[in-house]
C-alpha cells in the first residue's frame, strides 16, 4: 500500500519502523490533493504549512524517543463545521466565509494532544444540512468512485478525502446520517457514536440534540483508533457522557460469541435498490456463516423517523442559526435601511435555499399555536422510537440494515426534489433520534461500480460491541481493501 492508500495503523507502523516519516506522508497527501482535488473538491481549505510543521515536529519527537500521542504524525482532515484555531470554519456558508474561530473544538484539542497532523477542512452541505454536499455555497464534492456521482453528505468532503487518498482519517458530524451515508457512498468506514460520547464543544451546532462528531477511516481498526482518541467527558459540553472510554482497539480482533444480529423485515422494501438489498442479504449471510443468530426485529415507529427528524432538526436549527444576523460576526449585507432590514438582508443574502427552507420549517414548528402539534408531538414520537430500540435490543445485540436505499445518486439528480432527498434518510435518522451508535462498513459494489455500505446499530455506549461486530464482518470480506481508480 502506498502512503496515500494505506490505513493509519499501517502508516503508524511504517513510521515507527523508520520506513517513512510523517513529513513524507503529509507531503504525499498534499501532493495527491494538489493533483486530484480539483476534480473531487473534498477540501474547502488546506493548512499545508502548519501541517508540515507539525509533521516535522512529530518526526523530531519520534527520533528523539520522546513520548508520542496515539495518532503521531497521521494526517487528519476536519469537516469545516468543527472549529480549529487559525483555520477558517465556514460551514460551507457565505455567512461564515471569513470566520476564523479564536478557539479549538474539544476534539481538535484531543487530536493535537494525540500528535495528529491537521491537514485541512473539508466540504459539507451548508451548516451540515443535506445529503450530497450540493448545498455547499462553494463547491460540490464528487464521489471518488465516479465523479459524476455525489459523495453523499453532509460530511461528503470528509468521506471523499479518505476514499480518494487525501487523508487516512477524517472527522465528520452526523445529525441524521451525515457520517454513515457518505461513508456508504464512498466505500469507507464511518461511525456515529452514542449521543454524548464525543464532546460537541466547538462543533458548529445544527441540531443540538442530534449532532455527534464521528470518525471516517479506511477500515474498522482505524475508526476504533480515532474514536478512542476523541471520545470522553468534556466539562464544557454538559450533554457529553461521564462514562469511561474503553480502548476500542484492544479487543477488536476478538469475535463476539453467540452474536445475535437483528434485521428489519419490512422496512421501505419498495424503494430499496436491488443491489443494496442483495448486499445487505449477503452481509447477513456472512454473519450467519460466523455462527451468529439472525433474528427479525420490529421497530413499529421507524416509519415516523423521517417526519419526526424533519421537525426536531429544523426546529433546533432555526434557533441555533438565529445568531447569524450580521451584527457580531459573519456576513453583513451592504445595503439596508434599518436594523430589522439589516438582519433580513444579511440572512437573506448569505444563507442558501436549503438552510432557509429548514429555518422556515423550524420557525413554523416552534411558533405559538403550532408548538404542541409539531414540536411537542415529535418529541413524543422520538420517545416511542427510542423505546422501540430498547425493546429490540432486549432480543438482539446489534441491528443490521442498509445505510441508504440506493448507492450514490448522480450529482444534480435530486436537487429539485428535496422530499426524495429527505426520504433517503429512512435508515439513518433513527440512530440520531434514539441516541444510539451506528456504523457504516463497506459491504458491496453496485453493478455500476459504486460502493454499498452496511449499517450496524448497537445500544447506547456499546461502541466496543459495534466495532467488534463490524470487524468480524470486515475480516471475512474484501470490500474495505478496494480503492477507487
Amino acid at each position: 500500500m502506498s502512503n496515500t492508500s494505506a490505513t493509519a495503523s499501517e502508516l503508524l507502523a511504517k513510521m515507527n519502523s523508520g520506513e517513512v516519516s510523517s513529513e513524507e506522508i503529509t507531503a504525499a497527501c498534499l501532493e495527491e490533493i494538489a493533483r486530484r482535488d480539483n476534480s473531487i473538491n473534498a477540501f474547502l481549505s488546506l493548512q499545508a504549512e502548519t501541517a508540515l510543521e507539525t509533521a516535522r515536529e512529530v518526526d523530531r519527537k519520534r527520533k528523539a524517543g520522546e513520548p508520542l500521542g496515539k495518532l503521531a504524525g497521521i494526517p487528519v482532515a476536519l469537516k469545516d463545521n468543527i472549529c480549529a484555531k487559525g483555520a477558517t470554519t465556514t460551514c460551507a456558508s457565505k455567512m461564515l466565509e471569513a470566520f476564523t474561530p479564536p478557539y479549538d473544538a474539544h476534539i481538535v484539542e484531543q487530536l493535537r494532544a494525540a500528535d495528529a497532523v491537521l491537514i485541512g477542512k473539508t466540504n459539507l452541505d451548508e451548516f451540515a444540512m443535506g445529503s450530497s454536499t450540493e448545498n455547499s455555497a462553494f463547491k460540490t464534492t464528487a464521489n471518488p468512485w465516479n465523479t459524476k456521482c455525489a459523495a453523499g453528505g453532509s460530511s461528503g468532503g470528509s468521506a471523499a478525502a479518505v476514499a480518494a487518498g487525501f487523508a487516512p482519517l477524517s472527522l465528520g458530524s452526523d445529525t441524521g446520517g451525515s457520517i454513515r451515508q457518505p461513508a456508504s457512498f464512498c466505500g469507507v468506514v464511518g461511525l456515529k457514536p452514542t449521543y454524548g460520547r464525543v464532546s460537541r464543544y466547538g462543533l458548529v451546532a445544527f441540531a443540538s440534540s442530534l449532532d455527534q462528531i464521528g470518525p471516517f477511516a479506511r477500515d474498522v481498526t482505524d475508526a476504533a483508533l480515532l474514536l478512542e482518541t476523541i471520545a470522553g467527558k468534556d466539562q464544557r459540553d454538559t450533554t457529553s457522557l461521564d462514562a469511561d472510554v474503553p480502548s476500542y482497539t484492544k479487543n477488536l480482533e476478538q469475535p463476539l460469541e453467540n452474536l445475535k444480529v437483528g434485521y428489519i423485515e419490512h422496512l421501505h422494501a419498495e424503494g430499496l435498490h436491488e443491489d443494496v438489498k442483495a448486499a445487505t442479504q449477503q452481509a447477513l449471510e456472512v454473519y450467519k456463516s460466523l455462527g451468529a443468530e439472525l433474528i427479525p426485529v420490529e421497530l413499529p415507529h421507524a416509519k415516523y423517523c423521517v417526519a419526526t427528524y424533519y421537525i426536531i432538526a429544523p426546529s433546533e436549527a432555526s434557533s441555533n442559526l438565529a445568531r447569524y444576523d450580521g451584527v457580531h460576526y459573519g456576513y453583513r449585507a451592504k445595503q439596508f435601511d434599518n436594523m430589522i432590514d439589516m438582519y433580513a438582508a444579511s440572512r437573506g443574502e448569505a444563507f442558501g435555499d436549503e438552510v432557509k427552507r429548514r429555518i422556515m420549517l423550524g420557525t413554523y414548528a416552534l411558533s405559538s399555536g403550532y408548538y404542541d402539534a409539531y414540536y411537542l408531538k415529535a418529541l413524543k414520537v422520538r420517545r416511542l422510537i427510542r423505546n422501540d430500540f430498547e425493546q429490540a435490543f432486549q432480543k438482539v445485540d446489534i441491528i443490521a440494515s442498509p445505510v441508504t436505499p440506493t448507492p450514490a445518486f448522480e450529482i444534480g439528480e435530486l436537487v429539485d426534489d428535496p422530499l426524495a432527498m429527505y426520504l433517503a434518510d429512512i435508515f439513518t435518522t433513527s440512530a440520531n433520534l434514539s441516541g444510539i451508535p451506528g456504523v457504516s462498513v463497506p459491504a458491496g459494489m453496485s453493478q455500476n461500480k459504486l460502493p454499498i455500505g452496511l449499517q450496524l446499530l448497537a445500544p447506547p455506549l456499546e461502541e466496543e460491541r459495534l466495532l467488534r461486530a463490524a470487524r468480524m464482518f470486515e475480516r471475512e470480506t474484501d470490500w474495505h481493501r478496494q480503492r477507487p481508480e
Binding site: R236, T238, D325
Partner: protein, 494 residues
C-alpha cells in the same frame, strides 16, 4: 364612580456570583472596558456551549426560599428567542413553563400607623441570563451604535409578583422590602444605579361602575424603572393617565392589547414604546444544550438552613427583645445586615438595648454618613462601644463624658483601639464619675459661699439659678454626676 389600582411588579435582580451563569467570565461591573469580560460562550460564537454555574443556581434557590416559594424537584432551561444586537445568540437562556421556584409571598407593612401588613403573592422566580448593553450615538451624526457584552450572561433572577399591590406607595414598599431581604440573605447587592436591581411594573385600573360592575382598563407595562422614586412616580403618573384615558375612551382590557410604555424620569411621564409586545412570539423551547436540573429535599433543606433571619422577623424581634420603638427598629434593620449585627452586639454588651439604639442610630450613623463609611469599616468595633455604654449604664461616667470618649475613640488610630481604650481615655481625661462625697460636698460648699447673689435668687424662687452653679461645681470636680451635684446644691441653699 371610583377605581382600584392594580399593580404587579417584575423585578430583575443580578445575583452576586463571581462568574456568569453559563461561562467562567467575570461579572464585575466594568463599563469603562467594554467586551473585556467575554469568551466564546457569552459571545455566542459558533460551536460554544453553555455550562450551568452551580453557585448561581444555589443563590437562585436561596432567593426562592427567602420569598417563601416552593422549589420544584425538576426544573429546566428554555430558549427565549428574539433578535436584538445586545443578544448575540439571538436567544436568551431562561425558564419558561417549569421555573426553579414558584408560589411564594413577601409580607410588607402597608400602614405605619396601624402596623397593618399584607402578603404580596409571588407567582414565580426564575433564573435567566442577562443581555449586553447597547449604546447609541446621541450626537445625531449617525455614528454606529455600540454593543458591550461584559454584562451578557450575568445571572439574573426574575421575580414576578401577583397583581396584589394597590398603590404606588405599596409598590415602592414591596420593592424596598424585597431589596432589603435580598441584601440580607446576601444574594445580590441590589445596586439600582449599576442595574443589579431593575423593575418593570404592570399597571391597570379596575373601574367600579355605579351598577356594581367592575371594568378593567388596558394593562400597561412600564419599563426602565431604575429607582424607588421612579417606580412610585411612574405608577402615580400612569394611574392618572389611565383614569383620564378611561374617561375619554372607555376602552377596557379586552379592547386593546397589553401596551409597553417607558418611564422618562426627566420629564416625569410615561411614553408609548414601539408595540413590540403584541407581535412577540418568543418561540420558547427547551434548550437542548443544557440538562434539566433536579433538586432533592436534602439540597432544599441545606439551602434553607443557610438563610439568615429575614429582616421583617428581625425587626419584630428587635422591638420585643430590646424594647425598641418601631421607628428605631426599622432604622436599624434598614441599614442592612451588618449594621443590625453591630447594634445587637452593642446592645448585648452594654445590657441596655434602648441606650444602644440611641447611640447607633444617632452617633454612629451620623459618623458613618459624614465620612461615607460602611459599618464594616467603622473603627469603633461593637465591643468597644459596648464597653463605653456599659460605663454609662453603671453610672461610672456621664452621658456627656461618654460622648467625649466617643470622639476620642473616633480620632484614634484603629490599630490603637482595644477593649482597654475606653478605660484609659476616661482616666487620661479624668472623666470618672466622682463617688467621693467628701470632695464633692467641699466643692459645693465653696461654690455656694462664692455666689451669694445666685443663692439669693434661688431662695427667692428662681430655680434656674441652680444651673449656673452646677456648671461651676462640675468644673471643680471632673466626672461628678450632675444629678447628685444638683441635689447637693439644693440641699445646701434651702
Amino acid at each position: 364612580m371610583d377605581y382600584t389600582v392594580i399593580i404587579g411588579l417584575e423585578v430583575h435582580v443580578q445575583l452576586q456570583t463571581r462568574t456568569k451563569l453559563f461561562c467562567g467570565c467575570s461579572t464585575r461591573f466594568n463599563p469603562d472596558h467594554p467586551n473585556t469580560q467575554t469568551c466564546p460562550v457569552c459571545l455566542g460564537l459558533p460551536g460554544a456551549l453553555p455550562v450551568l454555574n452551580r453557585e448561581a443556581f444555589h443563590l437562585g434557590m436561596k432567593t426562592g426560599l427567602a420569598i417563601n416559594c416552593e422549589i420544584p424537584s425538576f426544573t429546566k432551561w428554555d430558549r427565549k428567542q428574539y433578535y436584538y444586537p445586545d443578544l448575540p445568540k439571538a436567544y436568551q437562556i431562561s425558564q419558561y413553563d417549569l421555573p426553579m421556584s414558584q408560589n411564594g409571598w413577601l409580607e410588607i407593612e402597608i400602614d405605619p400607623e396601624t402596623r397593618e401588613t399584607k402578603k404580596v403573592g409571588i407567582i414565580r422566580a426564575h433564573l435567566e441570563e442577562d443581555a449586553g448593553k447597547n449604546s447609541h450615538d446621541e450626537s445625531g451624526r449617525g455614528h454606529d451604535s455600540k454593543v458591550d457584552l461584559n454584562r451578557c450572561g450575568t445571572p439574573l433572577v426574575e421575580i414576578v409578583s401577583e397583581p396584589d399591590l394597590r398603590s404606588a406607595q405599596e409598590a415602592r414598599k414591596y420593592l424596598e422590602e424585597l431589596k432589603l431581604l435580598l441584601t440580607y440573605i446576601d444574594v445580590s447587592d441590589c445596586n439600582m444605579q449599576e442595574g443589579s436591581l431593575r423593575c418593570d411594573a404592570n399597571v391597570n385600573l379596575h373601574i367600579h361602575q355605579e351598577n356594581g360592575e367592575t371594568i378593567p382598563t388596558p394593562i400597561v407595562e412600564i419599563k426602565n424603572l431604575n429607582s424607588f422614586r421612579g417606580v412610585e412616580q411612574a405608577i402615580e403618573f400612569e394611574v392618572k393617565r389611565q383614569w383620564e384615558a378611561w374617561q375619554e375612551t372607555k376602552l377596557s382590557l379586552h379592547d386593546v392589547p397589553k401596551e409597553t410604555r417607558g418611564w422618562d424620569a426627566d420629564r416625569g411621564i410615561t411614553l408609548e414604546q414601539r408595540g413590540k409586545e403584541e407581535a412577540a412570539d418568543y418561540r420558547y423551547f427547551p434548550d437542548p444544550d443544557l440538562a434539566p436540573v433536579t433538586v432533592t429535599d436534602a439540597e432544599r433543606e441545606k439551602v434553607s438552613s443557610e438563610l439568615c433571619e429575614r429582616p421583617a422577623l428581625r425587626r419584630n424581634r428587635l422591638e420585643s427583645e430590646y424594647e425598641l420603638s418601631a421607628y428605631d427598629a426599622a432604622v436599624i434593620i434598614d441599614q442592612g445586615l451588618a449594621f443590625a449585627d453591630y447594634f445587637e452586639q452593642v446592645a448585648k454588651g452594654c445590657q441596655n438595648g434602648k441606650q444602644a439604639a440611641n447611640w447607633v442610630t444617632q452617633d454612629v450613623l451620623r459618623e458613618l454618613k459624614e465620612k461615607g463609611l460602611e459599618i464594616s469599616s467603622f473603627t469603633i468595633k461593637p465591643e468597644i462601644l459596648a464597653a463605653l455604654l456599659e460605663k454609662v449604664e453603671r453610672s461610672e461616667i456621664t452621658t456627656k463624658s461618654a460622648r467625649t470618649v466617643f470622639q476620642e475613640l473616633i480620632n484614634s488610630e484603629e490599630s490603637e483601639l482595644n477593649a482597654a481604650s475606653v478605660q484609659s481615655i476616661i482616666e487620661d481625661k479624668g472623666l470618672a464619675m466622682v463617688s467621693d462625697t467628701g470632695a464633692l460636698e467641699a466643692a459645693v460648699q465653696a461654690v455656694v459661699a462664692k455666689n451669694e447673689k445666685a443663692v439669693a435668687d434661688f431662695q427667692s424662687g428662681k430655680q434656674a439659678a441652680v444651673g449656673a452653679l452646677i456648671g461651676q461645681v462640675m468644673r471643680e470636680v471632673k466626672g461628678a454626676d450632675p444629678k447628685v451635684v444638683r441635689e447637693l446644691l439644693i440641699e445646701k441653699m434651702s
